[in-house]
Every structure is written in C-alpha cells, then in structure tokens.
C-alpha cells in the first residue's frame, strides 16, 4: 500500500487539516458529489453527542443494574424488547429484498439491495446491542447458547438472530470492500467479487434464518399459555403469531427500507433510486401486506371468539379499565397501519403518487411497530388473575436514551456508508456530475 510517502509529505500540524481533507476526498466514490467535510463532521458530531448520551445510559445500566429502568416485575419486557422486535421487523427489508433479488431474481432490486442490507445490518446490530443491555447479567449472556433450551422461542431467536447477523455482515462486507481505496487492494477486490458471486447462497441462508427468527419472535408471545392476550393456537410447535410475524416482517420491512431511502433522498437532496425500483418493491410489499392483514384479521377473530373466551376472557376485557390500552390501538394497528397502506400500495395510482406512497410507508412502519408494541407491552399490562390490576409503565430516561442510542448509531453508520461507499448504484446516473 502506498501511504508512506504521503504521510511524510503531509506531516506537520499546519498541514494536518489539508491532509484530512485530501484523505476524505480520496475515499469518496467516483462520480458522485458529497457535502463538505466540515458540514459532514458537524452533523456527525451532533449525532455523536446523542450516541454518547445513549452510551452513558447504557453504562449506567451495565454497572448499576436494571434498577436504572422503570421496568418492574409486571413489566419484565418493556420499551427495549419492543424496540428490539420493531427494529427486527423493520430490518426485515434486508432478508426479503435479498430473497427477491437473489432467489426470485428480481434483478431491478440490485439498485436498492445495498441500502436494504445496510439498514438490516444496523437494525440487527442494534437489536443485539439492546439485548445485551436488556439482560440482567450481560456477562452470562452466552449461557443462552451454551446452555440452550431448545424448547424456548427465545433460544431460537438468539441463535437465528446471531447467525443472521453474521449473514448481514457477510452481505455488508463486499459493500465496504467496494470503497475506492480498499478496492485497490487485490485481495479485497477479489474477495468482494467472490462474495458477490456466492451471495445467493448467503442470501438463501439468511432467508431461511430470518424465516425462523422472525417467526420465533412472534412465537415468544404466542406460546405464553399463561397470558391469554398473547396466546395463540397454531401448527405443531408454532403458534399462529410465528407465521404472522414472519409474514409481517417480509411485508413491512421493505416499507421501512423505502421510507429510509426517501428520507435519505430528502436529506441529501438527490434522487438516489429510480421510481420503477421503488414502485416494484412497494408493489410487492403492498401485496404481502394485503395477504398479511387478511390473515391477521382472521387470527384476531378466531382469538377473540374462540381462544380468549375459552380462558374466560372477552375481547373487550383486554381493552378496557385502563388508561392507555383502548380499542383504538387495535384499530390503529389493523386499519390505519395495515389496511390503508396495503390499499395504497396495491393500487397503481397509489404507488405512483409520491405523497400517497410515502404516507403508506409511514403508516406501515407505524402499523408494524404498534403490532410489536401490543405483542410485548400489552401482554404484560393485561391483568390475568381476577384480583390483578392493569400495570402501566413509563420508561425512564435511561431506557429512552439506550433506545435512541442505536438510532444515532444507525444514522452515523448510514452517513459514513453513504459518504464513502457506492451504496446507490443509480446515484451517479441520476445525479450526473457537472
């Protein structure tokens, strides 16, 4: 590698700044424009400050214990686990887009797959980080692997999550290797090339793993036969929520990818992905959502009329006598967060209208997040013994900060990746350099 001479040339404090700038521009992909380094660093610092706040809260949780949170014995699972489930559902765009691209061979999607992978990588690394904070004994976290109980849905989640994170890393690596400077190293150049050519195998493994861990996350709640609000009958060892979660992650994940793409476009002020790509993914997502929401409605009906009454509950018991969980939440989840975006995205007109399309993405993201919220927090809140009361909880700042931490980390990773890696293959074409 060729750094020695230059390092000498640019040594000296007065030259340091210039050197940094040169280094920065050398890393930026060819043929694209990026904002000034100063602007970039300021933005990075702002997000970094938020990240540090989150890190501080995280350290508090690790060193002082989970008393730093507002979780309690009724709310053993709270904000974090919701964030975990939501982030994994939203990161589902990666596996599903990969599945479509590599297995179903929807080739247009190559123009968005990089970003889908990056978002997935962020989501899954965040999920693992949150889990590491959430457990009471982080230094014993590896017991879940070593002393695994294969009957536990959480074991399945942990295994598949970790494996799938490996897949995402494998998918993300070639992207890093495509950096202008790294690519100059022959080994890395070839590695990138070879990994691309075997990607279908990795993507298939990823899809397989995702199917199971998304499902097991649904199973986490569905198998709780002591919690009639969550409990579902199912197929063999899998409760219906297992399939619903997989299906919804596949359906809603791409919406999140598309939403983040749109936000990136808005911030960078550039069109990054062509409309036909967006519309294709939106269409597939829309149909997935449609089928999912039908299944979800059937599930809700069956649960409300058969499962819950067999345990002595009426549907309304789960949505009354408390200050938060009203029937509105069911409407928000199914109608606003399900039927409406699905309806927009399966119609040509809806897909073609940027406003309608973007609204659908946002609604979809809300819809799936509400679903995950309900399946985690409402499960904990509903009283089961007749002499129990509703438990409501409000997160502590430490919980909020540690939940924002991955968001800040994600933004930083996107900023850096976008600046230095050729994430959007169509960018140069759509934004020709003058």
């Amino acid at each position: 590698m060729n750094g020695y001479g230059l390092a000498e040339q640019y040594s000296g404090i007065s030259n340091q700044r210039r050197g940094t700038k040169v280094m920065d521009s050398a890393l930026i992909p060819n043929g694209v424009r990026r904002c000034s380094l100063d602007k970039f660093l300021v933005a990075l610092a702002v997000v970094g400050a938020v990240l540090l706040w989150g890190v501080y809260a995280m350290l508090l949780c690790w060193f002082k214990g989970l008393n730093q949170t507002n979780m309690n014995d009724n709310y053993g699972f709270a904000l974090w686990i919701w964030a975990d489930l939501a982030v994994i559902a939203l990161g589902g765009g990666a596996f599903f887009t990969g599945f479509l691209k590599y297995i179903i061979a929807k080739d247009e999607l190559k123009n968005i797959i990089n970003y889908a992978v990056l978002i997935g990588f962020i989501c899954y690394s965040s999920a693992l980080l949150i889990l590491a904070i959430d457990i009471g004994q982080p230094l014993r976290g590896w017991f879940i692997f070593w002393h695994a109980n294969v009957h536990s849905m959480l074991t399945e989640v942990a295994f598949c999550l970790s494996c799938y994170f490996m897949v995402l890393t494998i998918e993300y690596i070639p992207l890093i290797l495509e950096n202008r400077q790294i690519d100059r190293v022959p080994f890395f150049h070839h590695l990138s090339h070879n990994m691309h050519s075997t990607m279908a195998v990795f993507a298939a493994t990823g899809a397989f793993l995702s199917f199971f861990h998304q499902g097991s996350l649904g199973g986490v709640a569905g198998v709780l036969f002591g919690r009639p609000f969550a409990y579902r009958e199912g197929l063999f060892i899998w409760p219906w929520t297992f399939f619903l979660f997989t299906w919804s992650a596949a359906a809603y994940g791409p919406c999140f990818t598309l939403m983040v793409t749109r936000i990136t476009e808005a911030i960078s002020g550039k069109k990054l992905v062509k409309d036909n790509v967006v519309e294709l993914l939106a269409k597939i997502s829309g149909w997935m959502m449609t089928t999912y929401i039908i299944a979800k409605i059937i599930d809700t009906f069956y649960w409300a009329n058969v499962t819950a009454p067999s345990k002595g509950f009426n549907l309304i018991d789960f949505y009354s006598n408390n200050g938060f969980y009203g029937i509105w939440i069911l409407v928000l989840e199914i109608v606003l967060g399900g039927i409406v975006p699905a309806a927009i995205l399966i119609t040509d007109k809806g897909r073609k209208s940027p406003i309608a399309r973007n609204t659908a993405f946002v609604l979809a993201v809300i819809g799936v997040s509400v679903n995950r919220w309900v399946m985690v927090l409402q499960v904990m809140a509903v009283p089961i013994m007749t002499f129990d009361t509703w438990a409501l909880y409000f997160p502590s700042w430490q919980e909020v900060a540690t939940t924002i931490l991955p968001v800040a980390y994600g933004i930083m990773l996107i900023m850096i990746s976008y600046r230095y890696l050729p994430i959007f293959p169509q960018e140069a074409e759509l934004n020709p350099a003058d």
């Binding site: 002393h147 494996c163 897949v167 070879n194 493994t205 199971f212």
Partner: protein, 51 residues
C-alpha cells in the same frame, strides 16, 4: 449447544433445532472460507501475472 453440554439430549428437538443451526453455520463457514481462499488465489494470480 454441543452434544457434550449438560443440557444436550439426543432427541428430535435437539436434532432438528441444533441441526438447523449447525447446518446454517456450516454453510456460512464453508462459503466464507471458499471466498477467502479463492480471493487469495486470485490475488496471487494477479500478482504473478504482472511480474
């Protein structure tokens, strides 16, 4: 996790579950090894070709 772990039993659950796990890990392992080895060879080839 491994058959020598205290919790391990040779039953359906373990074989299916852990089987799936090791299957996935094996694919990832072989895939990555293949990529690394092939890239090393490719890089060496480039090198040789140039001299």
């Amino acid at each position: 996790m491994f058959p020598f772990n205290f919790e391990w039993i040779w039953d359906m659950s373990h074989v299916v579950f852990m089987g799936g796990l090791w299957y996935a890990l094996t694919i990832l392992g072989i895939g990555m090894t293949y990529c690394v080895v092939k890239s090393t060879i490719d890089a060496a080839k480039d090198d040789g070709g140039h001299h």
